[in-house]
């Protein structure tokens, strides 16, 4: 593990949920693929701990935002696939816009120059 560069960022409270939901938008995925996708897409800046991933997946399932079913993975093994439910889709939209305004606000405050440049 230690050989992995670059330095990772700690997850902010509540970020994982929206990342999972966003990852599932294109289509159903199993847990391992979700973790890998987040890691890859964030250019290895975000590392999803298995210890938080599965509780999070099950929590989302308990809230009815994702649904799970056992299907065959592309390698032919039985895996538990998660997919967005309609209410999960709605939730994603809300959270996404929240996060976007939040990160915009952060950017505005931290880099006022950026804004002027734009």
């Amino acid at each position: 593990m230690s050989n992995r560069t670059p330095p990772r960022i700690e997850f902010l409270q509540g970020t994982l949920d929206v990342l999972i939901l966003r990852t599932l938008r294109p289509g159903p995925q199993h847990g391992h693929a979700i973790a890998k996708h987040i890691q890859r897409t964030s250019e290895d800046l975000l590392q999803v701990e298995t210890g938080s991933l599965y509780p999070a997946l099950h929590r989302l399932e308990a809230r009815g935002w994702v649904a799970a079913s056992w299907e065959l993975s592309n390698k032919g093994k039985r895996a538990r696939f998660y997919r967005l439910t309609p209410s999960g889709r709605k939730q994603l939209a809300t959270q996404q816009s929240q996060w976007q305004s939040f990160s915009r606000a952060m950017r505005l405050i931290l880099n006022p120059a950026d804004q002027e440049a734009k």
């Binding site: 391992h32 701990e49 298995t50 210890g51 509780p55 538990r80």
Partner: protein, 913 residues
């Protein structure tokens, strides 16, 4: 709500989900290993790395389970499983705790179920909340000079004292009923009824005694009762000249006809008058007064057929009070509104019945009371004693709880290490407390479950005790949801009560000393001692109560009645109800007496209008004042008695003779008076030969004898004066009579002979109220007997529980101080000194209990004052006895631990240290 059910569904499939989670994680592991292998790691290496990356699987599972929802329920199940294991591991402890709790909770449940039946149950009719009872109140009828001045000239029924010296009654003249019934704007129905007392009911030639209720045509409709079979009495049936019909109770239909449907259309004889059964009341219906529960309902106007001709007069007499009334409020009308409308109407009517200014000055005023619970006679009689009992069993339950708390505290000390290990491994304190509380509540629930069984038995025996000597006791307690809910609540409260202190104690955050010290220890003694002191104080309270009630009973038993108590058989006959009439009825009764007297073993037989106990309740045969010359005879009772009454009852004859066979219907009317009466009105003159004038027919009685004084109406009745006028039963011919037989040996052995003789004489007459004189006398003090018995039992129970607590505490103390005692003995302490050392501690604890108990006893005993007889609530004898018993019991409980302490081998003890 939706989420709740989803969680619930998951909860049910938990096991399956566990398996799925494991499979899911396994898949993750394999994927990860494959990825790593693809990245160039060797197979084993990759798998190890993947596992490392996965981290703590147990923790993931734990966290995921939490995501499934209901971690609380989850933990609760865990706690429950753990509690079951702990409880099973200590069967002895569990048994003792469960049994004590079962006794405590069971006793509480039993008493509460009576209170529930008495105070909370409604009449089993439609919409009982809209029923109201009509009563009136007025100033007392007697003037300052004891003259009766009141529009109520006569009454059949009861009046009872209300607050501030007013008289309250539910009896009205028939005219009042008719007036209020007409165009009533506030009641949808107004109905009346009156107690028809005991009647002879003959079904297919078999005669028995049955309680009758006369009801108006609106009665069943107003109560909203529908028949089990047939139809009920309606307005068409209740008018002069209507066909005589009757409705019988469900129980009567089963006992006498073999089922409700067999009874319809059957002819019956009520006091020899033919009636036809038209319907059967539903099984749960008991009329309007739970104390009465009639067997037979007759139309009001049928009273003219049965009680003629006196009954017909009652309808027209506006000054004779006899009918009771209930109304059903129209929807939207409140009780206060109804009273505001009806009170002036009643006032207007009752004013027309007043004949003098004196009567007009204190006219009765109408008041309405809620009718939902029925009439309150049972409530007036039993609620106070039941509250006292409830308080006592509540205290017993508290001692039982204290005991278990004690045991748990001792055990908590033993489990300190376990707790310390858990706490130091990171268990939250609240979590551990919750687990311990689960354990104790579970223990309590177990006790509660057994308590219900105990309560069923308790209800049965309490019914027996309370009904003591009463023919038809109608207060039936049962275990219903109310009661069971209270039991369950009690169990939980008990569990929390006795579990909380030990739980908090044993989870104190200072874990280090506990971990170091394997043998437990630490300062737990103060809590233990406080509990023991509380137990002793409570036992003391109950002992004092028991002492007071036992003394009350002793006082009652030592009351001089003035007549024989033992070896007397009493039974009643009513020949008039079977069709016998004057003057033949007097001969019939006289002949029967002679036949009873000829039964071998019967030394004498007599009859009277009622037994001596009942004569006070049944009222007088003669209304109004008797006179000696021009002087009113005040406070004397009249008892119509047959030949040999004084001999049979063993009342000494002081002068002249008693009433005998010479006193016939046609002969000169005679009287025998009691000594007190003679002293009061004739001073030192000889009253024999003097005369008493009766008010009704201006008859003169010649006094032929003087008897010793006797006490009427049972043992408690202090107000009864001993002034008695015995008149000849043959010359007054009451309807029914009570015979008394003085027998050799057990009076009840003669019942069979008596019944044969009566059947031979007239098979239509049932023999009723068969009882021994002793039992009838005890019946008047049934409450005192019950209290004395129950309190003795309760006191024993509380004392036993407290002794067990004391014993346990002392044993525990000694076990902990083995080393100390050993050193003392090694240094030369005598065994006697050690015993005394322990006993001194026991006495200090007992003394502590008394220090709290005595002031509480002094402060609270006045609550039972009204239940005592010639005993002051702070009776020093009862207090002293209770103190003695407590100290004695404490010494007994403490002696075994003390003895054991004195046998400690110093060598063993010191080495152990």
């Amino acid at each position: 709500m939706n989420t709740f059910f989803r969680k619930l569904a998951w909860f049910a499939q938990r096991r399956r989900k566990e398996g799925q989670l494991a499979a899911e994680l396994q898949f993750h592991l394999e994927e990860e290993a494959e990825d790593l292998e693809n990245a160039g790691l060797a197979g084993d290496e990759a798998r190890r790395a993947a596992r490392r990356e996965l981290g703590n699987v147990g923790l993931i599972q734990e966290d995921t389970r939490a995501a499934w929802g209901w971690p609380l329920a989850e933990q609760f199940l865990q706690d429950l499983r753990y509690a079951v294991r702990t409880i099973l591991r200590n069967p002895g402890f569990t048994l003792v705790a469960t049994l004590t709790l079962a006794l405590g909770i069971g006793a509480n449940t039993a008493i509460f179920s009576f209170l529930d039946a008495l105070l909370m149950r409604s009449l089993p009719v439609a919409d009982p909340e809209s029923l109201v009872v009509l009563n009136w109140h007025s100033r007392p009828p007697q003037d300052a000079d004891k003259q009766w001045v009141h529009v109520m000239h006569g009454v059949q029924g009861i009046a009872w004292p209300g607050g501030k010296g007013v008289m309250v009654s539910g009896m009205f003249p028939y005219g009042a009923f008719e007036t209020l019934r007409e165009e009533n704007p506030v009641f949808s129905t107004l109905f009346g009824y009156f107690n028809g007392l005991k009647r002879t009911l003959a079904v297919r030639g078999q005669a028995t005694s049955a309680g009758a209720e006369y009801v108006t045509g609106e009665y069943f409709r107003g109560l909203g009762v529908s028949p089990a079979v047939g139809r009920l009495i309606d307005s068409e049936d209740d008018r002069p000249g209507a066909a005589p019909v009757a409705v019988i109770s469900f129980a009567t239909s089963q006992n006498r006809f073999g089922g409700p449907s067999n009874a319809i259309g059957q002819p019956i004889l009520v006091d020899n008058v033919p009636f036809t059964v038209i319907g059967v009341a539903p099984p749960e219906f008991f009329g309007v007064d739970p104390a009465v529960a009639p067997d037979l309902y007759l139309p009001l106007h049928a009273s003219v057929l049965i009680d003629s001709p006196g009954a017909a007069r009652m309808y027209g007499d506006g000054n004779f009070y006899w009918i009771e009334m209930m109304g059903r409020l129209r929807p939207g009308v409140s009780m206060a509104q109804a009273q505001a409308v009806l009170a002036p109407r009643f006032h207007q009517w009752v004013a027309t019945t007043a004949k003098t200014d004196g009567e007009r000055a204190k006219l009765p005023a109408l008041i309405l009371n809620p009718g939902a619970e029925g009439l309150g006679s049972l409530r007036r009689q039993y609620s106070k004693p039941l509250y006292v009992l409830l308080m006592m069993v509540g205290l017993i339950l508290a001692t039982a709880c204290a005991n278990i708390a004690n045991l748990l505290l001792a055990r908590a000390a033993a489990r300190r290490r376990e707790m310390a290990v858990r706490l130091s491994l990171g268990a939250g304190r609240f979590r551990v407390v919750r687990q311990l509380l689960t354990e104790s509540v579970m223990l309590a629930s177990l006790g509660g479950a057994f308590g219900v069984l105990f309560a069923i038995w308790g209800v049965r025996s309490l019914t027996l005790l309370l009904s003591h000597g009463q023919e038809n006791f109608t207060l039936h307690a049962e275990l219903n949801w109310n009661v069971l809910a209270v039991t369950a609540g009690l169990s939980v409260v008990c569990g929390l009560l006795f579990g909380l202190a030990p739980a908090i104690q044993s989870t104190r955050p200072d874990v280090i000393p506990a971990l170091k010290d394997g043998r437990g220890g630490g300062p737990r003694r103060r809590a233990l001692h406080a509990l023991v002191v509380a137990q002793i104080a409570i036992s003391f309270l109950i002992l004092v109560a028991a002492g007071l009630f036992v003394r009350t009973l002793n006082n009652l038993h030592s009351v001089q009645l003035g007549y024989a108590r033992e070896n007397i058989l009493l039974f009643s006959l009513n020949a008039r109800q079977a069709g016998h009439r004057d003057p033949e009825i007097a001969t019939f009764y006289a002949d029967l007496r002679k036949r009873f007297e000829s039964i071998p073993g019967v030394s004498s037989a007599t009859l009277s209008q009622a037994s001596i106990i009942n004569a006070a309740r049944a009222g007088q045969a003669i209304r109004g004042p008797m006179k000696i010359g021009a002087v009113n005879l005040d406070g004397a009772r009249v008892l119509a008695a047959g030949p040999r009454f004084l001999t049979t009852m063993q009342i000494p004859i002081l002068a002249g003779r008693e009433i005998d066979d010479r006193d016939q219907p046609g002969s000169r009317p005679v009287a025998v008076i009691s000594e007190r009466l003679a002293r009061t009105y004739f001073e030192n003159e000889n009253p024999v030969g003097r005369r008493i004038t009766l008010p009704d027919e201006k008859r003169d009685l010649e006094i032929v004898g003087v008897s010793a004084n006797l006490r009427y109406g049972g043992l408690k009745n202090e107000e009864e004066s001993a002034m008695t006028v015995f008149v000849a039963v043959s010359q007054f011919s009451p309807d029914g009579v009570t015979y008394a037989l003085h027998t050799a040996g057990d009076p009840l052995r003669y019942v069979k002979s008596v019944q044969e003789i009566v059947r031979e004489a007239d098979s239509r007459i049932p023999v009723t109220k068969v009882i021994t004189q002793a039992a009838e006398i005890d019946g008047t003090i049934s409450r005192e007997l019950t209290f004395a018995k129950l309190c003795k039992g309760f006191a024993g129970l509380a004392l036993l529980i407290a002794c067990v607590g004391l014993y346990g505490t002392m044993s525990y103390n000694i076990a902990r101080r083995t080393g100390e005692v050993g050193i003392r003995m090694a240094l030369g302490a005598q065994r006697r000194t050690v015993v005394w050392m322990v006993l001194r501690e026991v006495l200090v604890l007992a003394g502590g209990g008394l220090v709290f108990g005595i002031p509480i006893a002094l402060g609270t005993s006045r609550f039972v004052a009204s239940l005592l007889y010639q005993v002051k609530p702070n009776d020093s004898g009862a207090l002293a006895a209770a103190v003695g018993i407590i100290l004695g019991a404490a010494l007994v409980a403490g002696y075994l631990p003390a003895y054991r302490a004195s046998r400690i081998d110093p060598m063993v003890a010191v080495r152990h240290e």
